[in-house]
């Protein structure tokens, strides 16, 4: 999927709340301190959708770059899944540097 189309679809889907969070995103790296509700609200908030150019990235994934509540740069890897019962945003991975709490 091209970036422009992904941005349009992403905006529509997050407005409708069609977001699924995979366990890996909140549980694999406890040092990053992500919680499930935080990830939902970050994806629903403001940010910028970019191509995921990491060499190890999942093919067809995008990066949602935003700021968390403590103004830290946060990168959330998402995939837009197309299924019979409708499209949805799937959060597969989340990254931010250090946690101050």
């Amino acid at each position: 999927m091209k970036l422009r189309m992904a941005r349009t679809l992403f905006n529509e889907l997050r407005k409708e709340g069609r977001i699924t969070i995979l366990r890996h995103a909140w549980q694999a790296h406890p040092n990053r301190g992500f919680t499930r509700i935080e990830l939902v609200k970050l994806v629903q908030g403001s940010g910028n959708l970019q191509l995921n150019l990491f060499p190890s990235a999942q093919v067809g994934s995008f990066l949602w770059i935003c700021k968390d509540l403590e103004d830290r740069r946060t990168e959330i890897a998402i995939v837009i899944e197309t299924e019979d019962n409708g499209d949805s945003i799937v959060i597969i991975h989340a990254f931010r540097k250090g946690v101050t709490l």
């Binding site: 977001i19 699924t20 969070i21 366990r23 919680t35 499930r36 509700i37 939902v40 899944e81």
Partner: protein, 173 residues
């Protein structure tokens, strides 16, 4: 992804753990095993939908409010740093806005997290803000920014929040 219903799902956050009768989860299409229990999800990268997460978090928030409002109101207990963070996430405001909601300086919020500035009065104020947010999701943002329309009220949550607020202590009367 396949949609499944899990019975007796335990959802946990800093405000506590709660067993939910049924929770919808998503598992990869490749997953062939028949899954009905949470313990079977241990090795699977399963997903939870945003609606479900918000429902579960709000339920835990409500239960925390119901169980602790009286004790905090009477100064029996205070709010610890982990609970404070979870409440801030429910309100979804940054520390500056959180300070504005409580009528404090931003630095005071940092002290609250360190545990050095927490008092019964501030704990009560925090519970009030939590109660408002639970009964009217989006109320905190509305209080900060204003907006065209007041967020709509969750009637069931409002009833439970009010019941907790006006319930008499067992030892009283």
């Amino acid at each position: 992804m396949k949609k499944l219903t899990i019975r007796n799902y335990t959802y946990e956050n800093a405000l506590g753990a709660f067993i939910f009768e049924s929770v919808t989860v998503f598992v990869p299409n490749e997953c062939k095993a028949k899954i009905t229990k949470q313990s079977q999800l241990e090795d699977i990268n399963y997903g939870l939908s945003a609606d479900e997460i918000i429902r579960l978090e709000m339920s835990i928030g409500l239960r925390f409010f119901e169980e602790n409002f009286r004790d905090i109101f009477e100064g029996v207990r205070l709010i610890n740093a982990n609970e404070l963070r979870a409440i801030q996430e429910i309100l979804f405001v940054n520390r500056t806005d959180f300070a504005k909601l409580l009528g404090l300086h931003k630095a005071s919020i940092t002290n609250l997290y360190k545990g050095s500035n927490m008092s019964s009065t501030i704990a009560n104020l925090i519970m009030e803000r939590l109660g408002n947010e639970l009964s009217r999701p989006g109320a905190s943002k509305f209080m900060l920014d204003g907006g065209a329309a007041m967020p709509s009220m969750d009637e069931d949550a409002t009833e439970r929040v009010n019941a907790a607020r006006f319930r008499r202590n067992k030892t009283a009367s």
